[in-house]
């Protein structure tokens, strides 16, 4: 009993960490510019496919492909930001939703065209496969790796926010954009860089996701809902919020699948609606 | 208390450690014109938000005439006769001025819930709206969308919307804000022409407006009422000068 509970918690937390990496970029950019980028998971998908191509077609080692997944997603997002998104910063929520949903549609179609509609296979290096025994529990190595990477990223993000000048600018811009501008902070530049970083993280998340949830052409759609739930429940512009919400979501989803399989995703949606009704700005959000 | 059109007792509000309102005691007699002045950040707009119900006080009570309105929703307070205008134009960009004021009249008359009769059938509401627009000299451009109106006209429309609710107490938040010199005469005559039955409390930085129209001035600073008095008393008081008038001479 305890064993399976621990197993559910561990797997759920690992899944939650994946969701965190996928979502944190969207939460911060949404909180900063209020720009609803529903195509966030398209960048994640891009990162995933970059990794797949590099490891399967070009024989790169998995770990080496990860930075490239990050960079490619970040670069592509910069292009989109310059060409399209910039024009819509002052547009309505709805327009931003629609534009970015259109991009999702296109990305899904392109992915299907290039890679087909099947699940993408991935050759994990042997040292990331299997499981290890820790305190009598059998823990998946890849999941441990995932948790490790996430915690490292979280620490890096928090440190950057707290201790670097750029981080201070980010915090200011999220808190009060007008005031930040008035203080001479180049908010547009801060946003562009944050956006690139956030999308890069999404790309990394997409690459890491292949082993946990699989990658196919519809990834941009399928995981959009989960990412939105994390962001809405966690609160816009909050790294802590994303972390907590993602962990909650990951564990609830795993627990739901394990203990109440007939309920399906019902539990997740129910918890989300209930949480949002209680705190519409999200757990860590501000008005 | 029952002789005041609007009164507050012990109104408090804080955001964490930031005190924006502290023990506000206000009495506005019917038909009077009071001005609320103070430096930026003194809590003047916050006070308006507290009185109108857009912000919930931590402590205190608010009365409209003899009736306590502390627990009423903002729209209910409007129905009782308490209405405000906004410092930044808060209008309906794509509605024409006629439609906007007619909407306010319909809401007051209880027509706004009826979805079966077409709008032109409500001639009395339209007539009333048009009369208000006429009195504010907005009738000529009342068919154009609000966002095409000149800034000064939009400020007047702010007041028109408030008047359409037939208020007993009118709270004007910086009515002259941003209005260029040549258009402000219009605005002043409108304020002067407001019915004697309405009690008016207005926030203003423009001292011309304040000394011209106010019977009494309330000075706020750091969330508290510093003092109140007649314009002559306030102009002479050194404390006021220190906190507000004497420093930077902004227009």
């Amino acid at each position: 009993m305890i064993a399976s509970l621990f197993g559910v918690l561990f797997d759920g937390f690992a899944y939650g960490m994946l969701l965190f990496i996928l979502s944190v970029g969207l939460s911060v950019t949404l909180g900063m510019m209020n720009f609803v980028n529903l195509a966030h998971c398209s960048f994640a998908m891009l990162g995933g496919f970059v990794t797949v191509t590099l490891t399967n077609e070009l024989g790169w080692p998995f770990l080496a492909s990860l930075p490239l997944a990050f960079v490619s997603a970040a670069l592509v997002s910069v292009v989109f930001e310059r060409v399209l998104y910039r024009q819509l910063y002052r547009a309505s929520d709805l327009d931003q939703c629609l534009l970015t949903i259109g991009i999702v549609f296109v990305s899904v179609a392109v992915a299907a065209y290039i890679y087909g509609t099947i699940q993408q296979p991935l050759n994990l290096p042997s040292y990331l496969r299997g499981s290890v025994s820790v305190w009598g529990q059998s823990l998946g190595v890849y999941r441990l790796f995932l948790i490790g990477v996430s915690i490292a990223i979280t620490a890096a993000l928090v440190a950057a926010l707290e201790y670097t000048r750029f981080g201070a600018q980010v915090r200011a811009a999220v808190d009060n954009q007008r005031m930040a501008r008035a203080l001479g902070i180049d908010v547009d530049r801060v946003f562009a860089i944050t956006f690139a970083l956030g999308s890069g993280l999404a790309g990394l998340g997409g690459a890491l996701a292949i082993e946990i949830v699989g990658l196919d052409h519809a990834f941009a759609f399928t995981y959009l809902i989960y990412v939105l739930i994390v962001v809405a429940v966690g609160g816009l512009g909050s790294i802590a919020g994303s972390f907590v919400a993602a962990s909650l979501l990951g564990i609830s989803d795993m627990a739901g699948k394990y203990y109440f399989p007939e309920l399906g995703a019902f539990l997740i949606y129910f918890v989300m609606v209930a949480l949002l009704m209680w705190r519409p700005v999200g757990l860590f959000g501000r008005r | 208390m029952s002789t005041s059109a609007l009164s507050t007792r012990g109104l408090d509000k804080s955001f964490g450690s930031l005190v924006v309102a502290s023990d506000i005691e206000l009495d506005l007699p019917p038909g009077e014109r009071y001005a609320l002045i103070g430096p930026n950040g003194a809590g003047k707009t916050t006070l308006i938000n507290l009185i109108t119900g857009m912000l919930k006080p931590d402590k205190g009570r608010i009365f409209l005439g003899p009736d306590e309105i502390t627990l009423l929703k903002p729209e209910e307070r409007v129905k009782c006769g308490l209405v405000r205008t906004f410092q930044i134009n808060t209008l309906f960009p794509h509605l024409s001025a006629l439609e906007a004021v007619t909407l306010a009249v319909c809401e007051r008359r209880g027509y706004a819930g009826s979805w079966w009769e077409k709008l032109p059938a409500y001639g009395d509401a339209i007539e009333e709206a048009y009369a208000i627009l006429l009195s504010l000299r907005l009738a000529a451009s009342c068919y154009r969308p609000t966002r095409e109106l000149a800034y000064g006209q939009q400020r007047l429309l702010e007041i028109a919307l408030a008047l359409a609710t037939k208020p007993k107490v009118l709270l004007l938040d910086e009515p002259a804000a941003g209005v260029p010199q040549q258009e402000s005469a219009e605005l002043f005559s409108v304020i002067a022409g407001l019915s004697q039955e309405i009690a008016v409390l207005f926030i203003e930085h423009d001292m011309n407006v304040v000394f011209r129209f106010a019977h009494r001035i309330i000075v706020m600073a750091a969330g508290r009422i510093l003092l109140q008095g007649t314009p002559k008393e306030i102009a002479a008081d050194a404390r006021v000068r220190e906190v507000y008038l004497g420093r930077a001479r902004h227009g």
């Binding site: 709805l94 534009l99 609606v273 519409p280 999200g282 | 319909c106």
Partner: protein
């Protein structure tokens, strides 16, 4: 005091705003053309009419009251299943079934309206999405009732008015759907041009100002949301009755997203936007259906991006702008 002559002018102005335009009459006459020009496509035509009605119901809350909903299909599907189940359990009379199903959707809309009216922005979008997904999941799980992934079987409709049978040619289906669409359209038109319609536009234009003029915003939102749910329910029931089947797709996020795209394509807040959008979208999809579905998503995505950047008010908005330009160049 305002003289009656002076007030006649604003009244007349408001009258002209809501008058029936010749192009509207032409539009409705044109809806009769499929009977004559494309008699083999009447089934598609009835699908278009149903989708148009669904889009119109979304327009009431999105285009006029400014409520962004990603879960509007909940009311469509709920009524669809209700109508299907009524027929399956033995009462196949179309009109009464329609009324019952639409009422059921209305009740659901009324209840959820209490939740919806309290939120804005992202929380509202996510809650509408969540509620829609919840209902879809529930329907999926309750396969003993809904037939699950296989859909609802055994829906047999009686003859309409005891005379007209629903058949494969779609004549009855299209006539029925078209008349119902028109009636609902008249109701929507009435609503938009009423003081309530003006209040809705006020909410859309500036929700903060509304309480400041004494408007009970939440009550207004609940009212229009219920009406929109009834109308979506009518559309859903029509679908169940004319196709004699109901599938999980009617409740799905895909359907909610599709109707949103359709409305934006045509132009929200213009009454005819949903109708025009439905015609274009459904006809295009029918033409493209043979080709790989991925191509469809590619072009729809591109179109969506193009509409948002170049035609933010949809096709009707673009047309209105052209008309204004034309009029200005003539003057």
């Amino acid at each position: 005091m305002v003289t009656s002559a002076a007030v006649a002018e604003p009244q007349r102005y408001l009258e002209t705003q809501i008058r029936w335009r010749p192009v509207e009459i032409a539009f409705w006459l044109a809806t009769l053309l499929p009977f004559v020009l494309t008699p083999n496509y009447l089934v598609l035509a009835s699908q278009i009419a149903i989708t148009a009605l669904f889009a119109l119901s979304l327009d009431l809350i999105l285009g006029y009251a400014g409520i962004v909903s990603l879960g509007h299909a909940a009311y469509f599907g709920f009524a669809s299943y209700t109508a299907g189940l009524i027929a399956k359990w033995g009462w196949g009379e179309p009109l009464t079934g329609l009324v019952i199903a639409a009422t059921a959707a209305g009740v659901l809309g009324y209840l959820t309206g209490f939740i919806i009216a309290r939120f804005r922005h992202l929380a509202l979008i996510m809650i509408t999405l969540g509620l829609g997904l919840l209902l879809a999941e529930a329907a999926n799980s309750a396969s003993w009732l809904t037939g699950g992934a296989d859909g609802l079987q055994g829906v047999r409709m009686w003859k309409l008015f005891g005379v007209f049978q629903f058949d494969l040619y779609g004549t009855t289906a299209y006539s029925y759907s078209l008349v119902v669409l028109f009636v609902c359209f008249l109701v929507a038109r009435r609503l938009i041009n009423s003081p309530f319609g003006l209040a809705l536009r006020g909410i859309r234009e500036n929700a903060i100002r509304m309480p400041a003029i004494g408007a009970p915003t939440r009550a207004h939102i609940r009212k229009v949301y219920t009406i929109a749910a009834v109308m979506a329910g009518v559309a859903g029931a029509l679908l169940a009755q004319t196709t004699e089947t109901v599938s999980l797709e009617t409740l799905s996020f895909a359907r909610s997203a599709d109707v949103l795209v359709i409305l934006i394509l045509g132009g929200a807040g213009r009454l005819y936007g949903g109708l025009v959008g439905a015609i274009i979208y459904m006809v295009a999809r029918d033409q493209f259906s043979g080709i790989n579905p991925q191509y469809w998503y590619f072009w729809i995505g591109t179109l969506l991006v193009a509409v948002v950047i170049f035609l933010p008010n949809g096709i009707l908005g673009g047309a209105a702008r052209l008309v204004r330009l034309f009029e200005r160049s003539r003057a």
